[in-house]
């Protein structure tokens, strides 16, 4: 401590600032401070907020490619489909070698979710309607929807809110009412039609609704741009296309799809040094593709997978030989995942349902309430005990302990961890154990004081002697936590992560934080006594 005081102070400063920064989203709402840079929020596990968990096994029976890429392909497909399903914050993870865990918060019915996830990919090529037609389709749909507003409670509610706002502001008429509620959901950006981030889920629900589908002019359909084709992970507004209802060409005519990187010497700036996807049709597909492209030069051809538009390139020319490329603002990963989706290879590894769990949100709410209550009671009793038993030193330990809890929550937020019920239990236990390091040190300091040492030397000696013990004891616990994390799944992993963070936090607090306060605040000057 004496040798590098500045190093410790910098560490403490980083620790405190880091904790405060990552705790901040818990305390302030995004709406009030939209420019605050820290956006992560603590995820609640399925057991706390309710939802469906499905575990799927990748069928390896007729596997042609290697297992790991087949699993990755499937995860990519599932992510895309779930996005289409409109579930907020799904988690899709690989487990062991050939299992995929899908968690859908807020979803109740495991059967329909399972069906959606295990269905096989379906690729289609559809013509994008030009600007004039798109405008017409949107307006026509909007008129139809307006007439049948009673079928769409969500839209009706939106309109009512809007009306209330208009009344309160005293405006003559609002844009929503003027254009029809459906029309108001669709804006324009450059040449594309877009839906605001906040309206995406509403729009997705509409597109799935069979009542809505009947109100769209019969030759056309709406289709969202796929989240996989975007660079911003779907944070901004999303493009919506009006495409022909009938496919010009479908994926069964495709022979092969591959991600490639253009040579740096390539003439076309869209290809040079950039990833793109090359397609090869079979003979029948090649003929059809030639005809479709020849008939529609200058139009856009949408590549639609599972009713989501992956890209919509302009047809430059008639394309013979059944070869085509898809260019776009791809990163390598995006190009690869699109190639995966287009390729029949992804269908070689069907998914078998393995287990499914539905957790009621009400049970989750009860668990949070009683878990937090139990935690509060435990913490308060421990804090009071430390205060009585170690007096001023106990107060310091208490202060740091509360800080440690904040650190655990902040670290979980920062690492994108998930708080599960065993995780809460892990935090509460950590509180009990976090005191341990302090108890060890304080007891040793008392012994040294009893032996007649001055407070300064007693603190020094106490720390020197106990640090080895604290390391030994905590490393063994970390071994247990690591094994849990490595071999556990789901909630157990969450528990292991909170336990690990708790151990690291409590070691830091006891060895560095408490010591700094003791030496810099409690033992300033030539004090002869130490309150311990």
């Amino acid at each position: 401590m004496k040798k590098y005081p500045w190093l410790y102070l910098v560490l403490i400063l980083i620790f405190v600032l880091g904790t405060l920064i990552f705790l901040s989203p818990l305390l302030m709402t995004q709406e009030k401070f939209p420019s605050w840079p820290i956006k992560q929020k603590l995820n609640l596990g399925l057991d706390l907020r309710g939802g469906v968990q499905i575990v799927l096994e990748v069928d390896t029976k007729d596997l042609k490619s290697d297992l790991s890429s087949a699993v990755d392909n499937n995860i990519e497909i599932i992510r895309n489909r779930i996005d289409q399903f409109g579930v907020a914050e799904p988690t899709i993870q690989k487990m062991d070698e050939k299992f995929i865990v899908v968690q859908l918060p807020g979803v109740k019915d495991p059967l329909s979710a399972e069906e959606l996830v295990t269905r096989q990919a379906f690729l289609q090529f559809k013509l994008v309607a030009d600007g004039e037609v798109t405008e017409k389709v949107i307006n026509q749909t909007s008129e139809n929807v307006q007439r049948n507003l009673n079928l769409f409670p969500a839209l009706a509610k939106l309109e009512k809110e809007d009306q209330a706002m208009r009344d309160s502001l005293g405006l003559a008429d609002s844009t929503r009412v003027e254009q029809g509620i459906f029309r108001s959901l669709i804006g324009t950006s450059q040449n594309d039609y877009v839906v605001k981030q906040t309206d995406i889920d509403l729009m997705k629900a509409l597109l799935q609704d069979s009542n809505f589908q009947q109100l769209v002019p019969k030759d056309h359909q709406f289709a969202f741009e796929s989240i996989g084709a975007r660079t911003d992970q779907g944070k901004g507004p999303r493009t919506i296309y009006v495409v022909s209802r009938n496919a010009q060409l479908s994926g069964d005519l495709l022979d092969n799809a591959r991600m490639e990187i253009g040579a740096s010497t390539a003439q076309d700036p869209k290809i040079a040094n950039k990833p793109y996807i090359s397609l090869e049709f079979n003979r029948q597909g090649a003929r059809l593709f030639e005809r479709v492209t020849g008939d529609n030069v200058g139009k856009r051809l949408a590549i639609v997978v599972d009713d989501m538009v992956y890209s919509a390139p302009y047809i430059q020319d008639r394309i013979p030989e059944g070869k085509a490329i898809i260019t776009g603002m791809f990163t390598r990963t995006e190009a690869r995942s699109l190639a995966i989706l287009l390729n029949n290879e992804s269908l070689n590894a069907p998914l078998i349902p393995y287990s499914s769990t539905v957790v009621g949100a009400s049970l989750g709410a009860d668990s949070i309430r009683s878990g937090t209550m139990a935690g509060m009671i435990g913490i308060i009793v421990v804090i009071i005990f430390m205060l009585i038993y170690y007096k001023l030193s106990g107060l310091v330990a208490d202060f740091v302990l509360i800080f440690n809890i904040g650190f655990i929550l902040a670290a979980l937020t920062a690492f994108g961890g998930t708080l599960t019920l065993p995780g809460i239990a892990g935090i509460i236990l950590t509180i009990g154990m976090a005191v341990d390091a302090n108890v060890l040190i304080f007891e040793r300091i008392r012994e040294e004081l009893d032996a007649g040492k001055t407070p300064h030397t007693a603190v020094d000696a106490g720390y020197k002697r106990t640090i080895v013990t604290i390391w030994d004891a905590n490393i063994t616990t970390l071994i247990a936590a690591f094994v849990l994390w490595r071999f556990g799944t789901g909630p157990i992993r969450g528990f292991a992560v909170t336990l690990t963070i708790g151990i690291v936090g409590s070691m830091f607090c006891a060895i560095i934080f408490v010591r700094a306060i003791m030496e810099k605040v409690m033992l300033t000057g030539v004090k002869k006594t130490l309150s311990i």
């Binding site: 349902p353 393995y354 668990s367 007891e443 071994i479 936590a481 490595r486 789901g490």
Partner: protein, 321 residues
Amino acid sequence: MRLFQNANIPFVKIRRTAYVISVILILAGIAGLIINGLNWSIDFTGGMAATINLKPAKAGVPPLQIDKLRNLVTSNGFKDAEVQRYGEVEEAFFLIKVKGSQKEEVKEQLLDIIRDHLPEYVEGRDLENDVIIEINVVGQKAGAAMQSNAILAVLIALVLMVIYIWIRFEFTFGLMAIAALFHDVLIIVGIFALTGKEITIQIIAALLTIVGYSINDTIVIFDRIREDLKIYRKDPVPVVFNRSINRTLNRTIITAGTTLITSLSLYFFGGAVLHDFAFAISLGIIFGTYSSIFVASNLVIDTYQITHKEKKSIQHLTKKK
């Protein structure tokens, strides 16, 4: 304020009594394991667990008797179903468990039974969202894999810990620390077998936490022994051991106390889901503390006396690194 001022309890001297108590506890646990076996949850056996609520919406309908529900469920396709009630009679929460392989449509099947035979309890309520609170279906293969994974995890953790203590201390110390761990885990698993409580994934997590806690406790004492062996070179080994255990007693009891406070508050106020978890942890703290004080270091002394390797081991332990 001090808990134990200059404590001098003859822990080493009374170790044989402690051994007898431990052996009785372990034998009782093993007997429980042999007679009752472990009640593995469906996480490990595969099967279905559903929590349903059958509180009638209309006033005047008497609360559903558990026997009636049990008869209905067992006579309509779920022959081996287990039915339990959760909480108050009027609240009418029931837990239905069926072990072994289950079909996907199990939820529909269950809802059909309730709809057909108990209409008065579900009238006017949303079956999917209101009646079924929670349902968990696990494939049999998944369960078996879980079971071997859990056992594997515990074994790997133990082996890694022996290696660590071996490196940091000495082999006898590592071995006896692990013996103390087996002692704790066996007693707790035995209590679970005797009481018929379920071994869920959470309980496995609790067992590993106990392993971590107990080893922590043991190492604090070992560490003090190692230090004192260097200081009091002339004292007989049992005296040094006893002094070290006494000197760390304050810390051992206080830490056990604070951790026990938090786990007991989980047990009493944490709700049904955390109940068994907190039960296992509380037991673990009690037996972990007991084994750290009475079992681990005393076993080291006995091993030394039997193998006559005391001198060599202590030289190894106290040599400057």
